[in-house]
Amino acid sequence: MDIGDRASVLSTPWVEKYRPVKIKDVAHQTEVVAALEQAVERGGGNLPHLLFYGPPGTGKTSLALALVREIFPKEILSQRVLELNASDERGIRVVREKIKGFAQGAVGQAKVKDGKTIPSFKVIILDEADAVTGEAQTALRRTMETYSTVTRFVLICNYISRIIAPLASRCAKFRFQPLPTEVSFNRLSMICKSEQVTASEDLLKLIITRTNGDLRKALMTLQSASRMVPHGSEIGDKEIALASGEVPQELLERFRSAMFADSSFENVQSVVDDVVLGGYPADGLLHQLCDLLVEEDYAELDELQKSALIMKMARAESCLADGASERLQLLDVGARGMYISKSRENSSSLFKV
């Protein structure tokens, strides 16, 4: 293989390379797939506006694309489908111009595809719909109503709570579930074979656990890890840890013991220092700490202490999401953890009532 070929083959993200093409290829989302296949059977004419929501990497965008590919023949796809997403401009003007312009355009003569009448509407796929401003969503709502004879909208988002209620109520909502281990495992194994990557069953399962049902993330972690070893060598835990950017066990251990065993603030400061200066993500540390606390036989803290600390950690993560200083938030959690582990009586002070 010459360099040109190699370069383009190597560099394609597996997420794109192995994206499902047909509705039925989309893994696991049985409710949605059934509903959409039905709709396609009937020629798609009865399709309402759709709202696909759920965690990332579960097939929302793939399914939307597969749907339009099955309803419309290839030749008219570009006239009948408009795809908009967060990488385009957002704001009230976009809604008014782009969408209206597209929606108002006349639809050609109804033809037949595979024996079924092609529906006479156009489809607008709005990816990352929860990134659209509230104002624009309000405008979108009426546009949808006005043009519902000639267009159908497919809104895609992660959090349905970010979609204003009046908009969501105009759509048929479909929740995309996180993929179960079995399903992800099969996909990953298949891709490993196809890409000649050596990874043990346990390792694949580890990746899946770490990525919480997000197939995209699992695949990216796998691809990223595969780049760290020579082609054909086995991928190990080390590569996965590096690829996923998690905090090393040793630091987690030190944090835990600084809070609960040594009860030393100096130690807490030292660990936090190492975490921050090591470039490790603070939210990662909090997640890993949480996993530790809810482990089967973890007994260092009693129920109430555990509750108080985890509530504090949740609040810290929320602050981090707002952009607060990692160092200060971790120090705060560490200090609170020390205080919590020392107090056995006087329980309501744990919760600051």
Partner: protein, 366 residues
């Protein structure tokens, strides 16, 4: 370590030009070399605290991939017309024939649009004959990606997917936490930790040898401790300490940036007196710093760390809680001075209560 001709500051003069010249992060070096060899780089996200060497590593990597052409940089001041209604945004761009570098958060609220423009531009100027070039894509280096708004990061995400055939992105961030999850998962993460204290000490010693001056171990350690494992800061501090006074005296203090000294002073003011009058004085100090464009979060951290250093261990948790709370508010709010002042006031309250408690316990003991 080889001196180059990049300037008088030791930070620049001794910056490694190739991966081989790197004094630490050797494992990282292997990884980057592997990527460059295979002519396969995915999108990369270099993350790590300031002064850990991210920028240097990226330059070295580019040099390895594209050869010396990557070092011939041009500085451009470009103006982009973006948005609706169209606005003119001025940006400083560094470019070579194979890549461009920019800091999109310079564009403020229009950061998202700049990012899209840059990527579209580079992606459309891809080399025509893919097979004739060893590396068939261009690179866009974006600095301070963690300062980008969430919308800008979202925009980046999809644009990356769209143009990944013709260009690669190398993103740089101080902290991974501020990068949205989807962006984290679309890039290969390259963690660039701060060098250890020993590594910093070693570098300082090497520089002193190259520069031909005496650096007593004890002073080297002092500088190392003072720079909080930020090598850039360490080298600057060493250089300006030497300019202050050489040969280094026994008890010579490490030369520090003015603003850091002000912060240390603020901490000391807070601890020595807790009163309205004092609060007003502290406020003026804060204002001075802010008007000199010292970032509010840096002031916060600096003052807090100094307070933690000087106050009793016993109230350290209370200080942390208070600092975390007000710094969080600072992030969400608009006027930094209000939150800095609130923090100062609250600290005074905590400290005063603590002192009074200690005092009354002493009296009781009698």
């Amino acid at each position: 370590m080889k001196p180059n001709n990049r300037g008088l500051l030791w930070v620049d003069k001794y910056r490694p030009g190739t991966l081989d010249e790197m004094d630490f992060h050797l494992e990282l070096k292997e990884r980057l070399e592997g990527m460059a060899q295979r002519a396969d780089i995915p999108h990369l996200l270099f993350h790590g605290p300031p002064g850990s060497g991210k920028r240097t590593r990226v330059s070295c990597l580019l040099r390895l991939i594209y050869g010396p052409a990557a070092e011939k940089l041009k500085v451009e001041h470009r103006s982009f017309k973006v948005g609706d209604p169209p606005k003119e945004i001025e940006m400083t761009i560094l470019s070579s024939i194979h890549h461009i570098e920019a800091n999109p958060s310079d564009a403020g609220f229009s950061d998202r649009l700049i990012v899209q423009e840059l990527i579209k531009e580079i992606a459309s100027n891809a080399p025509l004959d893919v097979t004739a070039v060893r590396v068939p894509f261009k690179v866009i280096v974006l600095h301070e990606v963690d300062s980008l708004s969430r919308t800008a990061q979202q925009a980046l995400r999809r644009t990356m997917e769209k143009y990944s055939r013709t260009c690669r992105l190398i993103l740089m961030a101080d902290s991974l936490t501020k990068i949205i999850e989807p962006l984290r998962s679309r890039c290969n993460l390259v963690r660039v930790p701060s060098p250890s204290e020993k590594e910093i000490c070693d570098v300082l010693q090497k520089v002193s040898k190259e520069e031909g001056f005496e650096l007593p171990d004890q002073f080297a350690v002092k500088v190392t401790k003072a720079c909080s494992r930020n090598l850039r800061r360490g080298l600057l501090q060493l250089q300006s300490s030497k300019m202050d006074n050489y040969p280094f005296a026994e008890d010579q203090p490490v030369s520090r940036a003015d603003w850091e000294l002000v912060c240390i002073d603020i901490a000391s003011l807070l601890m020595r007196e807790q009163s309205n009058k004092r609060l007003l004085l502290v406020r003026t100090r804060f204002y001075e710093l802010l008007t000199h464009a010292i970032p509010a979060d840096a002031i916060f951290e600096s003052v807090t760390m100094e307070l933690l250093r000087s106050a009793d261990q016993e109230i350290a948790p209370a200080i942390c809680e208070c600092a975390a709370e007000y710094e969080h508010r600072l992030r969400q709010g608009q006027k930094a001075i209000i939150h800095l002042e609130a923090f100062a006031a609250r600290f005074m309250q905590i400290y005063k209560e603590y002192i009074d408690n200690q005092y009354s316990m002493l009296i009781d003991d009698d």
